[in-house]
Subunit: 140 residues, 2 copies
Amino acid sequence: MTVEFTLHPNFSDKIFVIDLPLCRVLLENNHYYPWIFLIPRRMHVRHVLDLSAEDRLQCFEEWTLAQMVFLKLFEVDQLNIAALGNKTPQLHLHVIGRRIDDPAWPDSVWEHPGATKPYTDAERQIRVHQLQHAFLNLEK
Amino acid sequence: MTVEFTLHPNFSDKIFVIDLPLCRVLLENNHYYPWIFLIPRRMHVRHVLDLSAEDRLQCFEEWTLAQMVFLKLFEVDQLNIAALGNKTPQLHLHVIGRRIDDPAWPDSVWEHPGATKPYTDAERQIRVHQLQHAFLNLEK
């Protein structure tokens, strides 16, 4: 089912977290917000509507699971979810944990493109590990 | 089930389109993009995760239906979907039809807050009618 899946080059600087039954989960390398992408491992999918009905339901379930993971792991004031895809024409679902003291609040993160700060190696390892652990435990 | 539902005051300038089984559909008064909001008619719901599992599934189905309506009605190059809610703490799901010649492309619409132009009365009536018609026909 997942043969021939390749990631758009715009995802090359994202950090691999885990493969769920349908979606690959990648982490944005930005210390300021917990921010992941769920990318269905299917080719030629740009919109949610390009997925089969079965995949679409699975996709929404994994998007919901990711939000549960965020509420479990992070002290957030709000969750932002979105699928835009204007610049990267491969379906990817954002989940972004927002805090009232983050550098973009209360705007969308897209209004503050300068608010980026890479994780340190140690931070990145901790974040990836905690996400993997939470996905595996909540998915059961 | 839908008693006690009230809209947040931030929606007071949006245009009523239709009530689906779960969500109220409102139109943004902006000629530049077809842009609607789906608002579950439940009280005290800020996140998707605040909905019951049954409501959440219905919500996703209506969000999908709205995207089908947009692809049927509008000549769009991309659909943007999102639930942010940083400024309006009542769950609302955006569906925005985007074109490569719209004033914000390829950015998100939130990066171009000045790109607003109200519909004329005639445009608004046509848009509401065509949306109502498409929702009623696709919902069957």
